[in-house]
Every structure is written in C-alpha cells, then in structure tokens.
Amino acid sequence: MPTMNMIQALNDAHKVTMRADDDIVVFGEDIGFFGGVFRVTEGLQKEFGHTRVFDAPISEGGIVAVAVGMAAYGVKPLVEIQFADYIYPGYDQIVSEVAKMRYRTGGEWTMPMVIRTPYGGGIFGGQTHSQSPESLFTHIAGLKVVIPSTPYDAKGLLISAIEDPDPVIFFEPKRIYNGPFDGHHDRPVKPWSKHPASEVPEGHYIVPLGKAAVVREGEALTVLAYGTMVHVALAAVEEQGLDAEVIDLRTLVPLDIETIERSVEKTGRCLIAMEAPRTSGFASELAAQVQERCFYHLEAPVERVTGWDTPYPHAYEWAYFPGPKRMKKALEKVMAD
C-alpha cells in the first residue's frame, strides 16, 4: 500500500473522485497550474484540463457564490479557500445560501459541494495564517463540518465529503500536513511515513461522515479531540501514563454522540481539546452535551483545553498553542477531582 502524507492523500482523493465523476470542478486561488500553495491540487489541471481545474480571482465571496451557481446547475464544486483565516469574505454566501438552500426550497435545489481549507496554528503563521474558525460553521444548520487527523482519514473523509449530498466544510489541519505533530515543537519533526495511518489504499474507499474513531481505548477518562489535537492528546495521555480513551471526532456536525456517550459513561471523566479560542468554541458545545447526557456518570467537571481568547500572536506561537503542558494540567485536573 502506498505511504502518503496528508497532502498526497488529499490530492489522491481529488484524483480518485474526479476520474469517476466528470461533474467535479475544482477551483480556488493558485490551485490551477501551480497546484495550490500547499500543493494539494498539484497535477490536477494537467490531468483534468483547464475547464475542470482553474485558478480563481482573489474573492472568497465570489468563489463560494459561483460554487452555489454551479451546484444549482448540476456540476459539483470542490473549492479551496487558501487559508481558513480568509474564509470570512465568503461567510455570507456559506451561511445564507449554501447552508439554507435545500431547506428554503423544500429540497428542490441542493448544494452538494466541498469547501476545503487549511486551518490551525503551529507554523508561525501569525494572526492570519493560524486560525481555527470551525466552531463558527458548526452553529450553522445545513452545513457538515469535517476535520481529518491522518492521511488515511483525510482521503477517506474527503471522498465521503465529495460524495455527500450536503455541503461540507472540510478543515485541514495544516500543521500535520507533513507529519503527526504531537505538540512537542522542540523535538525533531516526525514524518507521516512512520505512522500507520500513512498507509493509504489506492483507489476508492471512504471513511464515513458522522463517525468518530476511538483511536485509543481506556477506562480512566475520555479525551475528545480532532485535527492536530488528536496527536497532541495521544502523546499527552501516554506521557501521563493515563488509561485514557481518546476519541477523534472526525466529523463535528453531525456529531457521533453515541461513541462519545458510550465512552464517557464508561470512564466518568471527560476532557475536550481544541485549538480554537475558548469562548463559544465547539468544545463548549461538546461540554454542554456531555454534561447533559452523562451527568449522572460524571465524577468531575468536563474540562476544556483550548486556545486563548486572543488573536493568535506570532512570536507566542507556543504559549498560545494548547500543547503538552496545557494538556498535562488539564489531565491532572480532570483526574484529581
């Protein structure tokens, strides 16, 4: 089986689906001839031609708007927003149009499309190349929100997203494009090739939307995470020697609540980890649900490990990023009570 990093896996998902479905059209800033600033769309224009793979004007609003029109026409847009930090000019079209179209037309017009965008910190990208705005999309009924954490999942989830009848916002944790970052920024970079989930089958396969993965089984507590934080969480519980169950959500909406409930009912303790700012982040939604549903199983408050409620400050990358120390403190807290 080929070994791929996350970029290659995402690239492969494009190729596999585009070969099977002529209606898939890919566009975005710099994604054509050049193949995208992160190279996810490399080689696509060459293989599929200019009318299926092309550069777009620097207009995230326009990109989403024409995607709406294309979906209405009947082709399937698979677009890239260069950084999640730049998705806001497209927010109106996403919230008011993409998300609500099926509903407001009683199912007459649907919006199958995928909006891919790299998100998250850990790359010294400063305030406008580090944001994690996923929570802002989970509040919008009609959108699905997906975040992979490995090359295997990246390909399988992206194929699912492309084949899904609903619009999917697909956030790619850019810090782990090239290797599974565990939060120890002072240690040598690990490549994906050493990780089992870098074995990516050729051709078509899916990882279903709405299904979390229990990436580590345990009895002592449940850790909920997604994206880069899955790896940070795994490393942290290993280092603490905790018998933790770690769940990679993979899809934020619709959420795999069963897997979460089953786990928390078993462990009685829950820690949630995300990079995004704390207030009104998706971790709050998870905490709200866990305490609603598992209240009588909980032995301690549900804890949240998050980014701070500040913009992402360039030089303070590692003081902002919810790394091993923040994880450790929170793990101690959730276990102590």
């Binding site: 207009s59 009947g74 109106d92 099926r102 407001r104 007459e108 017009w109 649907t110």
Partner: protein
C-alpha cells in the same frame, strides 16, 4: 516635496463630505424637466459580436423603441409579431392584477408580507420573452413577471404567499420568495445581491459542460453596492461567462434614492465599462426595448461572445413592500409625474397604433385576467391562509436541513412534536 510641512497647505479648503440628497422630498413638487430622455431610435445597435467597448457609449444613453407617436422607431425594434406583443401585454396586466390582489390579501391579514412591482411590469416579462424556455433566471423579489411569463400557475405563487398546504416550499419562506426549477426560476434569497454571482456560477457550469443554456442574473439599483455585485462582474469578465446581468434601476432602495448607490456619478450600466463587459442602458418602461436588449445580450452570450450588463431604467411606482410607506420620504405624486410613463399603457397604445388592439379588447382581456387571478386566489385560499398555518406538519420543519435527518434533528423533532401535542 517629501515630508512637506502641512502648514504649507494652511489655506487649503476644509474637506467636506458630500451626502447625496434626492431632488424631491415630501412637500416638493417633482419636476422632471431636467431629465434627459433620448428620443426613441436615437441609439445605435452594435452587432452582438462587437467588442465590448463598442457598446460602452450606450451605457450613458437609453435604448428606446417606442416613440412618442407610439410607433416602434429604432434599430433596436425587435419586430415582434402581434401575438407576442399581446401575450406580453396580457402577462403584464396579469402581474399588476396579481400584485393588487395579493397586496390586499396582506392588508386583510391573510399573510405577513407582500411586494409589488408596479411600474416595472415591462421588465421581467419582455426579458423572459427574449430568453429561451430553459434558460435560468436568478431573480430578485421584483421579478414575479418571469414566472407569470413562463406560465407558472398563479395558484402555486399564491400557495407560497400564504405558506399554505399547497406551498411547495413547505411554509419555510417569506411570501414572494418563490423558487421553481422547472420554470427556470432560482430560489429568491432574502439576502440582497447573493444571486447575482450565483447566476454567473450557473452559466460557468453550463460553459464547463458545453451546454447551450444561459443564465440571467437580476439585482436592484440599491443592491449593486454589495460586494456580490463585484464578484459577479469580476468572474463574468475573467471567464467570459455566458450570462446576462440585469440591474433594475427603479431609483429607490426602500427610502434611499439611487444616489446613495452611486447613481449621481455614473449610470449603473457604466459599471460594466471598468470590467470590459458589454453594457446597455434601457428604458425599462418600454417593453420592446427591454425585449430587444435582452435578446441582444442573450445572443451575445449564447455565441460565446461574453456577458452583458443591462441597466433597466424605471421607477418604483409604489411602496417598497407592505411594510413601507413611501410618503415618508418622497412626494406622493412623484410616480404619476415620472415621465417614462406606465409600461402597460405604453404597450397597449402601441398595439392600438399598430391596429392590433383596441380598448374593448383590452377591457375584456383585463377582465379575463382578473377572473383568472380571482379564481386562483379562491383555489389557493382553499388550501389555507397564513394565520391557519404552522400547526400541522411540524415534523416537516426538520426535513431538508440535510438530505437525511441526523440524530440531533430527530431529537429536536421529537421535542417539537411533544410541544405541539401538549
């Protein structure tokens, strides 16, 4: 030179903000004698394959076909047969009657909201007549005429307005936010401007697929200020998209006159010049001119000669919507004094001048339309009016958020049903 001491401009005039004001406010007597209205026939007609630049002089003129003598006098004369003209007239009359009935319905408390297009009937209907049956419109709320021109059942429109049991949109949309794929009418959005670049996207899809159907996007003068307007023109220009982009300049956006959208400095048609897009400015109260311009632009698009921006210059003769009372911000008699006239009257008189129509036939036709509208209303009201809605079918509220109902919506549906039955 560099770092010039600001004191050097001690005598510079104080900067001033110019805030546009409409020429007339309540209490004033509107006087449109200053308005330059080119005579019908004074505007040349470039070939549909001409470079965009050749059309740009037309952006500050006004394509008109119906002359003061009610004859068609213009290189733009589309030379339509009398049946077509009569069909357009009938549709226009139907729209006006429909608007009046539904406005009244709202006033009677049968629904929450309504919007008329009075004075603008000569826009959607002839524009639609110029397109093919399967071209796609991305309309605003003032293009109800498109549906009527395409024969969409009046009762369907009313069902939507009443959010009743016959409403195919399942009671989810504000009245007049129609949608019908089969009639080439994209779902109207409450969010102004969004549909304009969507039209471009639809036409990009058609171009990608080598289709021959084109799209037509619609926007109001006020909404041209939205960023989406710029997206539409940018993408249309970059990819040479087969789309017709229409600005309906009815000179008002709720209480703001078109100067607040930039209309004091340039026409809306001129916006196209900066993108290298073909551009036409058209008397929107002249059904023949509207038809001709739309036809021109559609031929241009269909032959891969690129997009066209058309400004239809007209006047919003009534309030913005049932929530609006224009006497608060403009003279009540402005509509009557508006010099480009009543579009229905103009087309009617033209047909009479052609010897193809007369007052009796017009009265009979109007009565027929009225009967049809009333019949539709009766039929629709049998399916319910708004105040009776919202009790049945609560479970449907949770459909169509996604293709399938996910667990959390299923849970909420249970709750909602529980509430309804308690």
């Amino acid at each position: 030179m560099s770092d010039k001491d600001p004191s050097l401009r001690r005598n510079a005039p104080r900067l001033a903000l110019h805030v546009p004001e409409p020429p007339f406010r309540p209490g004033d007597t509107p006087d449109f004698s200053g308005l330059k209205i080119p005579a019908a026939g004074s505007t040349s007609r470039p070939d549909t394959t001409a470079p965009a630049a050749e059309t740009h002089p037309l952006a500050t003129q006004l394509v008109r076909v119906l002359g003061d003598d009610h004859k068609a006098v213009s290189p733009w004369d589309p030379k339509l047969d009398a049946d077509t003209l009569r069909k357009m007239l009938r549709d226009m009359v139907t729209v006006r009657i429909f608007d009046d009935r539904m406005y009244r319905s709202q006033r009677q408390g049968k629904t929450s909201f309504y919007m008329k297009c009075t004075g603008e009937e000569a826009i959607a209907i002839p524009a639609q007549a110029a397109l093919d049956r399967d071209d796609m419109h991305f309309p605003t709320y003032r293009q109800q005429g498109l549906l009527i021109a395409r024969g969409y059942p009046l009762v369907e429109m009313m069902n939507q307005i009443y959010s009743n049991k016959g409403d195919k949109l399942k009671g989810r949309q504000l009245p007049i936010m129609y949608s019908d794929k089969a009639h080439g009418f994209f779902s109207i959005s409450g969010n102004l401007g969004t549909q304009f670049p969507q039209a471009v996207g639809w036409a990009m899809g058609a171009a990608i697929k080598g289709d021959s159907r084109i799209a037509m996007g619609w926007v109001g003068d006020g909404a041209t200020a939205e960023g989406d307007f710029h997206s539409a023109l940018t993408f249309a220009a970059v990819y040479n998209v087969p789309v017709v982009l229409a600005v309906v300049n009815n000179q008002w956006a709720i209480s703001s006159f078109s100067g607040i959208a930039g209309g004091e400095r340039a026409t809306f048609a001129q916006r196209a010049v900066g993108y290298g897009i073909a551009s036409l400015r058209v008397d929107g109260n002249d059904a023949l001119a509207v038809y001709a311009a739309t036809k021109w632009a559609s031929e241009r698009a269909r032959a891969n000669n690129g997009p066209t921006l058309i400004e239809f210059f007209t006047y919003r003769a009534e309030g913005h919507s049932t929530s609006d009372d224009p006497s608060g911000y403009r003279p009540t008699n402005e509509a009557k004094l508006w010099p480009l006239g009543d579009p229905i009257e103009r087309l009617k008189v033209h047909l009479i001048a052609l010897g193809e129509w007369d007052d009796e036939r017009h009265a009979a036709m109007t009565a027929e339309c009225d009967t049809a509208v009333r019949a539709a209303q009766k039929e629709s009201e049998k399916l319910g009016i708004l105040p009776e809605q919202g009790k049945d079918g609560i479970e449907t509220m949770f459909d169509d958020v996604y293709a399938d109902v996910p667990w959390h919506l299923a849970e909420q549906r249970e709750q909602a049903l529980g509430e309804a039955n308690s």
